[in-house]
Amino acid sequence: MNSVKRALGFIWFILAPAVVYFLVDRAIVHIDPAGKKDINNPVIWVIIIGIFTPIAIGLMIFGWYAIKGEYDHLPESSSEL
């Protein structure tokens, strides 16, 4: 199982920037000052990309930890935290 955890870590590491790229790409396509839908509103995109970027960085760190085997052993008690 530990090798699976480590191997999957690469996916999480790559997935995070891909998601941010996707959001930025969709924002460029859909932002339209003349549009009336939520997806045309630049303020909403700024909020979403702004809040999603640190989460994506968190997913990258999660992937990095997984690759390094940090999740091979999970703490048994709070003394390990």
Partner: protein, 511 residues
């Protein structure tokens, strides 16, 4: 601990949390009326403030509230922190009900509403972690899932009460009276203050969490909970695992079952107001006991696989369930034979444009309205002359079908389908408080569990309608394409949770 004491701990915590959810929901449910009163169309500043009120409160301020109040809860204690969040939430909700409309005080109205909405988001971010931690720290290890599951019922019960109160007020007055500047839409906000006063009174009588009190008396509370939670790698990696392996999937399942379902019934299926609301109310009433059941079961078999099974069922069955809702309200299936024209209302929108509302009933007990906008003398003459819709349908009728009312059999079928969606919510949400509490040590528990919880629910869950709209705009041929977002996130979380989480119940949360 005596059974009466733990019961009062659960009751005091749950009542306050339920009220906070109620407060948060009524704003969203009355968004249309609030928008008319405070954020008029055509005013760019008001539009910007409206966007911030809707999006910033959930996406930015909720996680920020988790940090602010989580830190406070780990420094000064659980009791006073979640008392403060309750007062902030109740006070801001009540004050929203007192803000005069844009017509009376201009731009100050949307500014005040935005400010109060942001305080609501902040307070909500701090409430849940406190209540869950407080109950868990009073619970014995073999009943932690069972006791904390009562807290888990509050989000759904808050929705139930909000739906019920708004429906009661709305059905007991004309639309004009409800939507007026000082109309009925304000009543749910005013009611909040009574609920909050009672809840604050009850909570004031409660004592501090025994584990936190012990830690404090031993001088072992954290000096800097934020640093210890997020800058110590050993704890931070558990925060990340909680977010991506459990709460992220739980958030989208929760949002899809409760809010996307309601929005889908109203906006995609075009069910009439009363029927869509009562379907939700029945489904919630039937499903709510299962929060407690799954919490109880999680004490026997562990938390992990109950949550993972809920996500798996969502991944596999969301599309069939929503597809059935859509098909059963398709106009051709709804009619099944002749439809009788029972009422025609017309209204002039402009000198040359007329709105025609033809109300039909069908032989199998359904009814609906055909709404048309047309120039004078064309469609109006044509539609008004028909008594049977089946023949009209074959003539490529224009217009939209709204206010659909399904017959009794289909109604209860819809209750069962929505019940199933909320049943999945109970699976993922029932055990999660105990699961999160057990992941983190007492001295930084409030901070560490609050942030992933509010990112999972506020951000991942809150994005369901926006990403749904994004996908629907990109792929308009599939009316269910918006479901790929919750399905994708739940599948990702299921994979991470299945591989990385363990199913161990932590016997000792006193460390």
């Amino acid at each position: 601990m005596k059974p009466t004491t733990i019961r009062s701990v659960i009751a005091a915590s749950s009542a306050g949390t339920m009220i906070e959810w109620y407060d948060f929901y009524i704003f969203g449910m009355l968004a249309k009326t609030i928008s008319t009163q405070f954020f008029p169309e055509g005013n760019a500043t008001a539009a910007l403030l409206s966007t911030l009120a809707i999006f910033a409160a959930g996406f930015i301020v909720r996680p920020f509230g988790a940090l602010v109040f989580g830190r406070l809860g780990d420094l000064i204690g659980r009791k006073y922190t979640f008392l403060l969040t309750l007062v902030l939430m109740g006070g801001s909700t009540f004050l929203i009900g007192l803000v005069p409309g844009y017509k009376s005080i201009g731009i100050a109205a949307p500014l005040l509403v935005l400010l109060l909405r942001l305080i609501q988001g902040l307070a909500l971010g701090g409430e849940y972690g406190g209540a869950a931690t407080y109950v868990a720290e009073h619970s014995p290890a073999h009943k932690r899932g069972f006791y904390t599951s009562w807290i888990q019922t509050t989000a759904t019960l808050g929705l139930f009460v909000a739906l019920g109160v708004i429906m009661l007020v709305k059905l007991n007055m004309p639309d004009d009276a409800f939507n007026a500047e000082w109309g009925g839409w304000r009543y749910p906000f005013w009611i909040s203050i009574l609920l909050v006063i009672v809840s604050v009174y009850i909570r004031l009588k409660m004592s501090e969490s025994p584990l936190f009190s012990k830690l404090k008396s031993e001088g072992k509370i954290s000096a800097n909970p934020l640093k210890e939670s997020f800058r110590h790698k050993a704890n931070f990696k558990m925060v990340l695992m909680a977010l991506f392996g459990a709460v992220m999937g739980q958030g989208v399942v929760w949002y899809t079952g409760q809010f996307y379902a309601q929005s889908f019934l109203e906006n995609s299926c075009k069910l009439e107001f009363e029927q869509s609301r009562t379907i939700m109310l029945w489904a919630i009433a039937f499903a709510t006991p299962f929060f407690v059941f799954w919490g109880w079961l999680s004490d026997k078999i562990g938390r992990k696989w109950i949550m993972m099974t809920g996500m798996l069922l969502g991944v596999l069955l969301y599309r069939p369930v929503f597809s059935t809702l859509l098909q059963d309200t398709d106009i051709k299936k709804l009619v099944k034979g002749d439809a009788i024209l029972v009422k025609t209302d017309t209204a002039y929108k402009t000198n040359s444009l007329i709105e025609i509302r033809n109300r039909y009933t069908t032989k199998n007990g359904a009814s609906f309205t055909n709404l048309m906008l047309d120039t004078l003398g064309t469609s109006y003459t044509k539609v008004g002359g028909f008594k049977a819709l089946s023949s009209v349908l074959s003539q490529d009728l224009t217009g939209t079908f709204i206010d659909k009312k399904v017959n009794t059999g289909t109604y209860w079928k819809f209750v069962a389908l929505v019940f199933f969606l909320i049943f999945l919510v109970t699976m993922v949400y029932g055990p999660i408080a105990a699961f999160l509490v057990e992941m983190f040590p007492t001295k930084i528990r409030y901070t560490s569990m609050s942030l992933p919880y509010h990112i999972g629910n506020g951000v991942f869950g809150g994005l369901v309608p926006f990403i749904g709209l994004l996908l629907t705009t990109s792929f308009p041929s599939d009316p269910l394409v918006g479901l790929w977002y919750p399905i994708g996130i739940a599948a990702l979380c299921l994979l991470i949770g299945a591989v990385y989480l363990r199913n161990k119940i932590d016997e000792n949360v006193e460390d």
